[in-house]
């Protein structure tokens, strides 16, 4: 309740929430909202010499190189971005939490080995690794989800590791141990609850990173494959003609940025609210 009250006080967080709501609703109700089918090459979708149509009252955002309605493709494209953003980031956070908390709580050789592996993964540039992985496996929506979660868990694992180590040094944990509390009790009653704020922030901010990563993969042609409409993929399809038909690149680009921006705004507000060390500074 406290969090919601605080969120409602912040204009930028509200803006983020509003934009997310609009995009989510567009994705869910795409078949009712989209004026045309996203994959139909419309008979009146190209000019006489076969060029895409500029935005008009008929096609609000114009048509693409194949005579498909751009607005409809954008509305349907929200689905791929949201599914990948939520799912890939969710899996990444879960993996990161599992590895970070285990390594921080268990210590010993097993924890150390997990952390060395995490450090090793940090040496990989994530985008480069994702591109290689996506190119290796035949890309599809689900492969993209797996690839992104495989490269994006690393940072959250590092952060949660540090927090877990510091938490398990606290006196109340020692006290619990000394009265014979089980490891599970300590973990679930005294450590995990304290990690929830951090996990929430990362789960939100991470969606922005994920959306951008997905867009980058699709832009390079190793993301979601046509004919499934995806925003990055639309830029990839249309970019060679962007000097003549710039809207084909700019509209998908803008919606990618808007989606990432809204999660960044929300996540940043959550961090301000949830991180007690920052409280009162803004």
């Amino acid at each position: 309740m406290y969090i919601i009250k605080e969120l409602l006080k912040r204009k930028l967080a509200l803006l983020g929430l509003l934009l997310i709501a609009v995009i989510v609703l567009a994705a869910i109700f795409a078949p009712w909202l989209a004026p045309y089918s996203p994959e139909d090459q419309l008979a009146d979708g190209l000019t006489d010499i076969g060029e895409p149509l500029a935005p008009s009252s008929h096609f609000w955002l114009g048509t693409d190189l194949l005579g498909r309605d751009l607005l409809s493709r954008l509305i349907y494209g929200a689905r791929a971005s949201l599914i990948i953003g939520l799912l890939a980031n969710g899996i990444a956070v879960a993996i990161g939490a599992l590895i970070g908390v285990t390594a921080g709580f268990m210590r010993g050789w097993f924890g150390a080995a997990l952390m060395r592996f995490t450090d090793l993964m940090m040496a990989f540039p994530s985008l480069l690794l994702a591109i290689v992985l996506a190119a290796i496996f035949r890309p599809s929506l689900w492969i993209v989800v797996i690839v992104i979660s495989m490269v994006n868990w690393v940072q959250i694992a590092r952060v949660l590791y540090t927090e877990t180590t510091s938490l398990s040094e606290r006196e109340y944990v020692t006290a619990e141990r000394s009265i014979g509390a089980s490891t599970f009790r300590i973990l679930f009653r005294h450590i995990l609850p304290h990690l929830i704020p951090t996990i929430t922030c990362w789960a939100t901010l991470g969606i922005a990173t994920t959306v951008l990563l997905e867009a980058a993969l699709s832009y390079l042609g190793v993301g979601v494959q046509p004919p499934t409409p995806s925003w990055g993929g639309m830029i990839n399809e249309n970019q060679s003609y962007f000097q003549s038909f710039p809207w084909l690149v700019f509209y998908p680009g803008i919606v990618i940025a808007v989606l990432a921006l809204s999660f960044n705004l929300l996540g940043n507000a959550l961090r301000d609210i949830l991180d007690p060390t920052l409280r009162g500074r803004h």
């Binding site: 040496a123 990989f124 480069l128 290796i136 700019f250």
Partner: protein, 306 residues
């Protein structure tokens, strides 16, 4: 100090070893057949088999890796499958272009990011601060290629101030560097702002004010150096992030650097080049963070390298 550097170098070597093992293992999972790729679509089964033996792809994976490592220790990154030359000869001539792009974008990142971050912090909660922060959020939310295409369209196609693509002269460097630099500038501005706000609350700043030091003196001698400290560590880590962005921005501008080479190699499954680039990048990341850690004590003498 020398002992510290030596230990960090050994750590870097271990990381490189790990990176090479993981990359090698991943590429081995490849569903496509590199031998078929090299021999060409029309090659017969026997020809493909011969190529496979030539490349050593018929050996068990640990033998393949052993061979790779043995050559690597002698400074040999192997031979490209498709371009008939050594990986070293393909990667190193392209390093200057990417390094130039990196210097250019780090320049913009720091100049813009630190300046605006500082201004935002000093004018905290003003309209100017809010405007700057809003801009930083827009920049960090933009995909690098979109920013690249936007700048390209506006400044090169529409205004005609800069060339659309190309390489070699100073004017070619500006737009690609800005495309990468503005994203980073958003990050640095946010970090710098919170870092400066943190420093402003410190006792020594209050003491300096109480002593009657001039505002400029406090700013230059007390606030900025202390605020820069967390930023330096960021620059070291930036190199890895940068290499990913370079693939995208080099693709937008046709910049002849490592990014383009990598992207081409990935599409053609030219494993030796991919391996080589991964190792070079991991090495650069390790050196970047080592350099950042070595510089830190000069900015803050309290830091001891252990």
């Amino acid at each position: 100090m020398p002992a510290y550097i030596l230990r960090r170098l050994i750590q870097a070597l271990l990381i490189l070893l790990g990176v090479s093992i993981i990359t090698f293992a991943l590429l081995y999972l490849l569903p496509a057949d590199p031998a078929r790729q090299v021999a060409g679509r029309t090659a017969s089964v026997e020809q493909v088999q011969r190529v496979r033996e030539q490349l050593g792809l018929n050996l068990p994976i640990w033998q393949q890796y052993g061979r790779y490592l043995w050559h690597l220790l002698q400074g040999d990154l192997g031979r490209s499958y498709l371009q008939r030359s050594q990986v070293v000869d393909l990667v190193f001539p392209r390093l200057p272009a990417t390094a130039l792009l990196m210097v250019g974008s780090i320049f913009f990142e720091l100049i813009l990011g630190l300046t605006f971050g500082l201004i935002a912090a000093l004018r905290r909660n003003s309209t100017l601060d809010q405007a700057i922060m809003a801009m930083t959020f827009v920049f960090v939310s933009m995909p690098a290629f979109l920013l690249g295409l936007l700048l390209l369209y506006f400044f090169a196609v529409y205004l005609g101030w800069f060339p659309i693509g190309g390489y070699g002269e100073f004017k070619h460097l500006i737009l690609p560097s800005l495309s990468l630099g503005l994203l980073g500038a958003g990050w640095y501005a946010q970090q710098m702002r919170s870092s400066v706000i943190e420093v402003l609350r410190q006792d020594y700043v209050r003491t300096a004010r109480a002593k009657g030091l001039s505002r400029a003196r406090i700013l230059v001698l007390h606030i900025v150096p202390n605020a820069l400290l967390p930023i330096i560590a960021m620059i070291g880590l930036d190199i890895g992030y940068f290499m990913g962005g370079a693939v995208l921005v080099e693709a937008v501008y046709g910049w002849p650097g490592i990014g383009q080479l990598t992207w081409q190699a990935i599409q053609q499954l030219d494993i030796p080049i991919i391996m080589g680039v991964m190792l070079v990048v991991a090495f650069a990341v390790a050196m970047g963070s080592l350099l950042a850690d070595l510089i830190a004590p000069f900015v803050d003498p309290r830091i001891k390298l252990r």
